[in-house]
Amino acid sequence: MDASCLQFDSALQLLQQAGVVLPDGEPYGAVWIQGVIDALCDLSSKDPLTGLVNRRSFEMGLSREVDRVARSGESALLLVLDIDYFKAVNDNYGHGAGDLVIQAVARVINHVVRPMDTVARVGGEEFAIILPNCAGGFGATVAERLRERVSGQRVEIAAGKFLNITVSIGGAFAPQWVRSSPLIWMERADRQLYRAKAEGRNRTCLEHLVDSTVTAEEKGMLFAIAQDGAIAESQQQGTE
């Protein structure tokens, strides 16, 4: 195949604009083309502002993790994190300040989590973190550590001008051994994030681990209805 007839202009421009060093190798040779493709893949999976994984790539990672959990039975946690009152930052200090805040939060998250975790920016001021092989007991600890570290940060938005930022975090574990769907998993984590927001922000809410124990209250209700039914029935039979 004659690769010199391929159009690389836009691709190379895009890479240059993003500050990517062009691949080594003889131009239009196989090594060089592979380098360009890899660089484009890399670019299309990252969020330009923070360098984190972007939403598209995150969704692929999430569905891979659902597959993995279904096969291995390992415990995996999904956290969603949202910057509190972010709109006020943009409104009061401008979008430039907003961008600085987002970048600062991204840096803190990257410092707190393990290298194997996937940190993504999934929306304007919303982040998501996939934590594979995270045992049930550690979930709350990790989430709380994230919240504390971000809250302890003072973000410099202009020379000598600092902002205190807080975040709300929601989280849910993937059901082990079971092939769930990425969508349901995300919804469950999101629901906990809403709860954290509704309960006053600057807090973490994790979905309760599935608890199969039947409480006394549940048993009470089970048997109360059974008794009511039996009494009603015996009364009915008595009148017949």
Binding site: Q34, G73, V214, E217, E218, M221, A226
Partner: protein
Amino acid sequence: MSTTAAAPQQQGRPPRAGARTLAVTSGKGGVGKTFVTANLAAALAAHGNKVLVLDADLGLANLDVVLNLHPKLTLHEVFTGKCTLEQAILPAPGGFSVLLAGSGMVEYSRLTPDIRDKLLQILEEVKPHFDWVLLDTGAGISDVVLFAISLAADVLVVATPEPTSLTDAYATIKVLCTQQERRHVGLLVNQANRVGEGRLICSQLQQVLQRFVGAIPGQAFKLELLGEVKSDPVVRQAVLKRQLMLEHFPGSDAAQAIKALANKLIG
């Protein structure tokens, strides 16, 4: 570092081919789960369906006991490569096929990725050859049981009116609803003391579930009463003689109830 383009990974479940899959389970043991499964298989087969019952109670199997079979080839032999899958699929009285498991095999009491993969593979292999695959699972909510249930598209929980059975059935349904994200579970009330008791039990379970488990918004959870088998002396007789009730007491109330269950499932 260069990342070579990986082959696109297959995502999600493959489209369901062949058999309808139904897991029969119970919270508590000894409520008639295997008995119901075997007779239901016979009732489905009587409609001209090709039916396979897979004994998914790997550690404590007793489908062979209920059916009075003395198998030499079981899932264990398939797992260990001592026989082929085809060889282990045996004909059972009642016109259906069975894939039995050995009893008391400690190595199957814990779910390992190996067992998981093998069961998944076996199910995918048998599905194209049958109209129905019934999975007779163990009781309770262990890894193995929950996994076996997760293999099936539909679930039938068997319970008796006894408080302990109800409590355990409730716990099972709760786990299926929360952990497996199931939105529909079928219920069969066995050994009912009077007509209508099944309906009562189903609605009470549903009420408690609604109160304590809650549903994912927009996805209502439904516990559906699929059958009610009244206490029937012929059932005990059939069990003791290790006979299929549907063959030996086809006119009994219990046999009629199982046939009604099959009709409801066929739809």
